[in-house]
């Protein structure tokens, strides 16, 4: 991969985002009491958690790593 390795936490983030999006897709295409509950209480938390995990990975791998490397080169 170009800027992130598929580490275990990123894999988890992707799986969570996949499941959360599936729940969102269901409620968007057919809103019923069951799909609404599924999305609000399962899909939404999964999607949020996936996003947080992904952003944490990006922060770790992309920003901190590259900024640190850049400062090393300049010094």
């Amino acid at each position: 991969m170009i800027f992130f390795d598929l580490g275990p936490w990123l894999k988890v983030a992707l799986v969570l985002c996949f499941l959360g999006s599936a729940a969102a897709l269901t409620v968007l295409l057919y809103n019923s009491p069951a799909t609404l509950l599924l999305y609000l209480f399962i899909g939404q938390p999964l999607l949020l958690l996936g996003l947080v995990l992904y952003l944490a990975n990006v922060w770790k791998d992309l920003v901190r790593h590259k900024v640190f490397q850049g400062r090393q080169k300049r010094s």
């Binding site: 991969m1 170009i2 800027f3 598929l6 894999k11 992707l14 799986v15 985002c17 996949f18 959360g20 999006s21 599936a22 969102a24 897709l25 409620v27 968007l28 295409l29 809103n31 019923s32 009491p33 069951a34 609404l36 509950l37 999305y39 609000l40 899909g43 939404q44 999607l47 949020l48 996936g50 996003l51 992904y54 952003l55 990006v58 992309l62």
Partner: protein, 200 residues
């Protein structure tokens, strides 16, 4: 309604794109060329699309849960909605429906208090109803949490000429405004689900 259709399809597009991307990256993690635009694209897909899905998913699901069709999806509501849509029915709900006094989202409009957090309160109660419909047994006849709020009727009728000039209303105006007398005392019942069930 057009906006809702647009927002729905934006949400559907973002969710489908995110699912496809997660699926491809997880199952086929092929090395990709190290291009700036590709990095930006991947970052955007995974960083922005969950936000779009969350925003549009929540907004659209709440908005579409205002519709009569959504209310009818709970079995316990079917007889009430059938009565409301019955042209022969003389219930208050039916009179409002057949004369198009309320053009859309009829259930939500009458059962939501007109206050700062009226919508939010109605949605929280609605969530409890959805939960009860799926996981609990609902006892008939269903009842409101509290007596029907007269100010909901007065929100539309309160300043109308017909209402203000009716001698009966003038005599009890203060009582009506404070909620001492309910509109339903004279104009009820709001729903006659039994009649609709008996009708062929």
């Amino acid at each position: 309604m057009t906006e809702i259709v647009f927002f729905t399809w934006v949400g559907v597009g973002a969710a489908a794109l995110l699912m496809l991307f997660c699926f491809v990256v997880l199952l086929f993690p092929l090395p990709l060329p190290n291009l700036d635009w590709l990095k930006g694209f991947l970052l955007a897909v995974l960083g922005i699309s969950p936000l779009v899905v969350l925003l549009f998913g929540t907004g659209v699901s709440f908005e579409t849960s205002k519709t009569v069709e959504f209310c009818t999806s709970c079995h316990v509501m079917e007889s009430r909605v059938r009565d409301m849509k019955d042209p022969q029915s003389e219930s208050l709900a039916s009179i409002h429906y057949k004369n198009r006094y309320i053009r859309e989202d009829q259930c939500f409009t009458c059962h939501t208090d007109y206050s700062l957090f009226g919508d939010e309160k109605a949605k929280m109660n609605g969530l409890r109803h959805v939960y009860a419909n799926i996981f609990k047994e609902i006892k008939e006849p269903i009842q409101l949490y509290k007596p029907y709020n007269t100010s909901n009727c007065l929100h539309c009728h309160g300043e109308s000429k017909k209402f203000l000039e009716a001698p009966t209303h003038l005599a009890i105006m203060e009582d009506l405004r404070t909620g001492g007398t309910s509109c339903l005392d004279c104009h009820g019942p709001a729903h006659t689900p039994g009649t609709a069930e008996a009708a062929p």
